[in-house]
Symmetry: C2
């Protein structure tokens, strides 16, 4: 079993009430992979710049992430600088430097084109579409995006939504793209745009899932100290898609459990800067906390 | 089995994206009672002005609320005017007219002083303390408050917190009173101020419960159309405390189920203006939706 993820590998500089880190390994594909690796082989598709530290490549390889389709471009790596103040739910972007990302055309090695579980992490929807065009047969395609693309490439995004199965959006994105203020109505409107399943990520408030057959909702796992929320949404997606890729089934019970694993991966993600916590995470710890989450909500 | 609630009976004028209502029956005690009546006898302690419509008194009586300790003061009734824009989580207060509330000293009829389940809904903490002084023996005392009292009567509130069992606060209040930005830490800090149980109400995001033995969290029940959120927190409290008063037990399982009933009462509350929906609510509908809520979260 395998999953392929397209997204970014980034050098993140982040300041939170717990401290500050410069140029740490980040990006949507990195956070996704670090969670998904616990469930399945993860093939990562991304571009890095010529300045990308070798030790980061080694680190990902050591974690078992398959980097065949990570290319090195001429120029600087994608960089994000951001800050969280007391409201840890909201990232304040200080700067974004696209670098090599601006001319990225993803390619997929021949032996990866048959992978049936695909996640298109946040990146330009045209790049996402391009990758999807490489894949031979798809079983489950998940898509993430962000406000920037909703505003600037809405048509590309709308076209892409017709080709995918699961759309993951955060609260603000779901409301903006659907034009609905109520989350449940937003989810329904997004469902009508194409994807049979919609996941709305609500940060510290958990997740709302919508499909024609049922609605599912989980609070976030209550964490004592949030160190750095960066990548929590991608960690959610990694746990969620990773679990589904491992199960190879899409019954209601599988989806619900996948969401619980996603929520739990996200709760570990926020307990350290960057990939600090998720890179050390074991399946045993994850299972243990999924059970605790169940205790937290069962009545 | 009985519960006694101290709070406000108000004339509310509210505008939401769904419409507008003038001088409808509202107030913390009214919303609380309308939910709690489904579980137990509800004795209401409040003051109304000489202009308070008789039909509202008749309406509460018809719903079985016991009004022995509702007094009529000289002057105008307590009035609240507010508005909700697209963010239905946040009420914008346009005006508050205290009227008779400013000189209110609650009295409790002799035959009500032995009631062991007590809810001190949002009102001046000195009035809350005054009521508590009337009660002979208490089994469970719940307390709600608001930012205004946290800012202006912090010491009175802090003293009161040492005498009660359950403190219910919304997210902003919990953070403000505790000085903690993280909800779980806020809950812990509030627990140290006295109450053995802390409930943090997160509006459309549900509830977080904290006590020394366990943490419990539920998302809100997903509602298709929110008409008017006014009173949702008090409806939660009514369902929660009402259930506990009926059970007369405080095991973990009772508390968790009480929270589920509270969350469900709140979900009905927001489906109509003022008391429109909760006043028509039946135990059968409530049970049915509690089961649906369980389906929504079980994995």
């Amino acid at each position: 079993m395998s999953i392929i993820v397209l997204g970014t590998l980034a050098l993140d500089s982040v300041r939170t009430p717990s401290g500050e880190r410069q140029n740490i390994l980040g990006g949507s594909a990195a956070h996704f992979s670090m969670a998904a690796r616990l469930f399945t082989d993860v093939h990562l598709v991304a571009i890095v710049g010529s300045d990308f530290p070798k030790r980061y490549v080694g680190f990902l390889e050591k974690k078992g992430i398959i980097l065949t389709s990570v290319v090195k471009g001429e120029g600087r790596s994608f960089r994000w600088r951001g800050e969280y103040k007391n409201d840890l739910n909201t990232a304040i972007t200080l700067s974004t430097e696209l670098g090599v990302l601006s001319a990225f055309k993803p390619t997929v090695a021949r032996n990866q084109r048959g992978i049936e579980y695909i996640f298109l992490a946040n990146i330009d929807p045209e790049i996402q579409k391009h990758l999807l065009g490489h894949m031979r047969s798809t079983k489950l395609v998940g898509l993430d995006s962000m406000n920037y693309w909703i505003r600037n490439k809405r048509e590309s995004l709308r076209k892409l939504l017709r080709k995918i199965d699961i759309y993951l959006a955060n609260e603000g994105e779901a409301k903006e793209l659907s034009g609905e203020g109520n989350l449940l109505r937003a989810a329904k409107a997004l469902r009508k745009m194409g994807p049979s399943m919609v996941v709305i990520k609500k940060g510290e408030h958990g997740v709302l899932f919508y499909c024609d057959k049922f609605i599912f909702s989980l609070p976030a796992y209550p964490v004592h100290r949030i160190i750095d929320p960066t990548g929590a949404g991608d960690s959610f997606a990694g746990g969620f898609m990773g679990y589904l890729a491992k199960q190879r089934k899409l019954r209601g019970a599988d989806i619900k459990k996948a969401i619980a694993f996603g929520v739990t991966c996200a709760s570990f993600n926020v307990e350290g800067f960057g990939l600090n916590r998720t890179s050390k995470l074991t399946m045993k710890e994850l299972n243990c906390r999924v059970n605790k989450l169940r205790e937290c909500i069962n009545f």
